[in-house]
């Protein structure tokens, strides 16, 4: 049997690609490059809503002058999730090492 393709490759094509591509510009708008030195000096919105909790947990070390109130000089507190996920257990289908540093839980529909 051929090796299973990685989860991402398998799923990304299926998961509403149009939506995904629509979201990329939103996510990336915050990181839009300054194409020229002049533009680099103009204010670029500091990303206040970043794409993930993992990302919001760190300030964006941008070279571009941000245009919002300063980030407190302490480590940002990750946004608490409002979802009380049941812990991963024996009843779950999982792949990858049990002790992995990162667990990705996907609630999905095959169709």
């Amino acid at each position: 049997m051929a090796k299973s393709p990685p989860f991402w490759q398998v799923t990304v094509g299926h998961w509403a690609p149009a939506l995904a591509w629509a979201l990329i510009p939103m996510a990336l708008a915050a990181c839009k490059p300054a194409p020229s030195p002049t533009a680099a000096a103009t204010a670029v919105p500091f990303p206040t809503s970043l794409p993930s909790p993992a990302i919001t947990a760190t300030a964006r070390p941008s070279i571009l002058p941000p245009a919002h109130t300063p980030t407190p000089s302490v480590k940002a507190v990750p946004t608490a999730t409002p979802f009380l996920l049941p812990p991963v257990g024996q009843g779950d289908w999982s792949r990858g090492p049990e002790q992995a540093a990162v667990t990705l839980v996907v609630y999905s529909d095959f169709q």
């Binding site: 049997m1 991402w8 799923t11 990304v12 094509g13 299926h14 998961w15 509403a16 995904a20 979201l23 990329i24 996510a27 990336l28 990181c31 490059p33 194409p35 030195p37 002049t38 680099a40 794409p51 993930s52 909790p53 993992a54 990302i55 947990a57 760190t58 300030a59 964006r60 070390p61 941008s62 070279i63 571009l64 300063p70 980030t71 000089s73 302490v74 480590k75 990750p78 999730t81 409002p82 996920l85 049941p86 991963v88 779950d92 289908w93 999982s94 792949r95 090492p97 992995a100 540093a101 990162v102 667990t103 990705l104 839980v105 996907v106 609630y107 999905s108 529909d109 095959f110 169709q111």
Partner: protein, 305 residues
């Protein structure tokens, strides 16, 4: 990607009201799972989606049974499971649980329990995983000042494309210089890619994740010196974490950038090898995340004063 560091957990959230075959597909994955082939069926359902998406439910069921043998399943037992809806209670229980959680739709993903707040774009997922992996390495506090302010230190940045020699001037920005030397000596910058290249303007690096979002974990105040400005190419400065704070990424200028004067902590300047960086092609960290970098910083050696 990340075979050692990533575990993926799949939970059913079939939406029968908009997808006529969602429950059946989930049942098929369970029926395959019963024979140890859940992920094989999972992958088949996604990769062959176009083949079954427009079938009738009956046609889909027949299609599934035909494919079962190809997955090495006992096709008869598989067909029996589907026909008797043996796994429907489990799938429906999973659906109830997902609805009770109030999940916004499919797919909904969580990385280490935190909701993934972006569309299912592979680059953003990759970035989120890399950032999660960085967390255990992050530090709470910047290192104490240890450099002698009246000395100049020499740092050799060993890139795969060539060596870049930098003078570190602690007197220009003591904390920024200390952070750079401390992180360099502790290997933080080793194997970092040059994650942002604005050709003719600057290159940015110092993020082990290569995403543009990875930092060492601490922040400290911006330091500027009115005598030291972006008057020429080759200035080395900390990237801003906010208008008043620095973190651990840094950038090297390829041209005078007077518009940045007073906004970034310059702590060094290139004395040799800038041409290697000037030759790099444009790169945006997230947009080009999965593409090979133009250059990788292999290691840094710091010369004693």
């Amino acid at each position: 990607m990340h075979p050692q560091d990533l575990r993926i957990v799949y939970r059913h959230f079939p939406l029968p009201s908009i997808h006529d075959k969602a429950i059946l597909a989930a049942e098929a994955a369970e029926a395959a799972g019963e024979q140890g082939a859940f992920w094989a069926m999972h992958d088949l359902l996604y990769t062959r989606y176009q083949d079954w998406a427009s079938l009738s439910p009956e046609g889909f069921q027949a299609w599934l049974v035909e494919r079962a043998e190809g997955l090495g399943l006992d096709a008869e037992a598989f067909a029996q499971s589907l026909a008797t809806h043996r796994h429907r209670p489990k799938v429906e229980a999973a659906l109830r649980q997902a609805l009770e959680l109030g999940l916004p739709g499919t797919p909904t993903m969580f990385i280490n329990g935190e909701l993934v707040r972006f569309g299912p774009d592979i680059r953003l997922l990759e970035a989120a995983v890399r950032l999660a992996l960085l967390r255990p390495r992050q530090l709470e506090e910047p290192p104490p000042l240890t450099l002698k302010e009246d000395r100049i230190y020499l740092a050799t940045l060993h890139f795969d494309v060539g060596d870049v020699l930098i003078e570190i001037h602690p007197q220009w920005a003591p904390q920024a210089a200390t952070v750079f030397v401390f992180l360099a000596q502790n290997g933080w910058y080793d194997s970092n890619i040059v994650h942002r290249v604005l050709p003719g303007t600057l290159v940015e690096l110092g993020d082990p994740t290569g995403t543009g979002y990875g930092i060492a974990g601490f922040f400290y105040d911006l330091e500027t010196d009115s005598e030291v400005t972006f008057v020429e190419p080759g200035m080395v400065a900390m990237s801003a974490a906010s208008p008043t704070t620095n973190a651990s990424q840094f950038f090297i200028t390829l041209t005078p950038l007077p518009q940045l004067n007073g906004t970034r902590s310059i702590f060094g300047r290139v004395v040799a090898g800038l041409e290697f960086l000037a030759a790099l092609p444009a790169r945006e960290p997230l947009e080009n995340l999965l593409e090979p970098p133009g250059a990788t910083l292999l290691s840094i050696s710091i010369g004693e004063p």
